[in-house]
């Protein structure tokens, strides 16, 4: 199925210029592995970066630098080159199955097959927290086929990248490779599609807010405490 929902252009641009935080960058880079169209867009942005670099004024760099540089070329690399993708895949994986996690996400979890990861359970959800630096919180979420996430809002921006299965909310139906972006105005109760567990990577800036009956109660409660 081809990808229907892409990250906003400004997010791709922040990734290309290098200002996007690590958590969102993992999500965008993983989307890029699944989306040739956005790879082309980022490639075009990087070409702008290249042209702007070329047009920069040259800083003073004396001849000593070139001499040093040339002698360093034969230095052994201090850090071994990263393992080729094909080498770090376990033999248990069936190639091309929808459970397969692309890079760079695979490097953030303990394995390449989503079925065998160390999931934690919270109500009807399984989750894994990903270690990233910066403000954003990155997680993997797994919802059983047909499962629902209770109606909620967000106190900050949220990005969701679907990796397996699919889900729907009022804004659309999302499948592998699709990126849903939510701002604080969105309230939704996503429902996983039947047939296959829905696995997503999520990045949140802020917290989830329970709504409906809980939210007014929460507000009322906060009002009295003040």
């Amino acid at each position: 199925m081809s990808i229907r929902f892409h990250p906003r252009n400004e997010i791709l641009l922040a990734y290309a210029t290098g200002t996007l935080e690590e958590a969102a960058s993992v999500l965008i880079a993983t989307h890029l592995a699944l989306c040739p169209q956005c790879r082309t867009a980022v490639g075009c942005m990087e070409a702008v970066g290249g042209a702007l670099l070329d047009a920069l004024p040259a800083a003073a760099l004396d001849d000593r630098n070139l001499t040093q540089m040339m002698t360093r070329l034969d230095e052994p690399a201090s850090v071994p080159a990263p393992a080729k993708a094909a080498d770090d895949l376990s033999s248990t994986r069936s190639p091309g199955t929808s459970a397969m996690l692309p890079q760079p996400l695979r490097g953030y979890v303990a394995g390449d097959n989503a079925a065998h990861l160390p999931w934690h359970r919270l109500m009807n959800l399984d989750y894994i927290d990903l270690k990233t630096r910066g403000r954003g919180r990155a997680r993997l979420l797994r919802v059983s086929p047909g499962g629902t996430i209770p109606y909620h809002g967000h106190s900050g921006e949220e990005f969701v990248l679907v990796l397996a299965g699919g889900y729907s909310d009022g804004t659309g139906a999302y499948h592998r490779g699709d990126v849903a972006s939510a701002d604080p105005s969105l309230r939704h109760a996503p429902v996983a599609e039947p047939g296959e567990a829905c696995i997503c990577m999520t990045v949140n800036y802020g917290v989830l807010l329970p709504t409906r009956i809980l939210a007014p109660l929460a507000r009322l409660f906060r009002g009295r405490v003040h």
Binding site: L13, L34, P36, E46, M69
Partner: protein, 176 residues
């Protein structure tokens, strides 16, 4: 310059590498200084950048990127690691999970050299305010809201200038 990079990629040509260093080294130094590198370690970072250019040369694809673009991405990644102390997550072109490009129609493939000329032409034609926004975004490690603050503009205006600028560059790149 792209021909020099191809020579480095194809047969580890040290003379070609030296010429690339002489042209791009001073520009990478300017880039890293603007990104916040200190005078005391910027030359070390320039050398680190070119050490990666040398070691990863085999991955350079002259059909996809120009030498300038390739060196820009390496310098950008290095300064994220070195100056921000955070990681730069990237997809792996050799990942079996990667969804490949559909085969492009032959008349739509632009040589990197041609693409480079077109990107430069597109940048030269941009309205001044769009060009400024692009330069701040790419060269000064500024988020869109920091650019808005610096130019005393609403965030939405900065975002739309950047969007329009990129649209124009893409349109010129995709012209047949």
């Amino acid at each position: 310059m792209t021909a020099l990079m191809i020579a480095v990629a194809a047969h580890a040509d040290k003379k070609a590498f030296a010429r690339l260093f002489l042209h791009y080294g001073p520009r990478v130094k300017t880039y890293l200084m603007r990104q916040g590198a200190s005078e005391s370690n910027v030359e070390e970072l320039v050398q680190e950048t070119f050490l990666v250019v040398w070691r990863k040369a085999a991955m350079f694809d002259g059909g996809k990127a120009s030498a300038g673009t390739w060196i820009f991405t390496i310098a950008r990644n290095l300064r994220i690691d070195a100056l921000r102390k955070t990681r730069r997550p990237e997809f792996d072109p050799a990942d079996p999970a990667l969804v490949p490009e559909p085969e492009p129609a032959p008349d739509r493939v632009l040589e990197a050299g041609e693409a480079e000329v077109r990107v430069r032409a597109a940048l030269a034609q941009l309205p001044h305010d769009q060009a400024i926004a692009l330069r701040l975004a790419f060269l000064e490690d500024k988020s869109h809201s920091e650019i808005a603050a610096q130019l005393s503009l609403p965030l939405g205006t900065v975002k739309s200038r950047l969007r329009l600028a990129m649209q124009r560059v893409r349109a010129i790149l995709e012209e047949s």
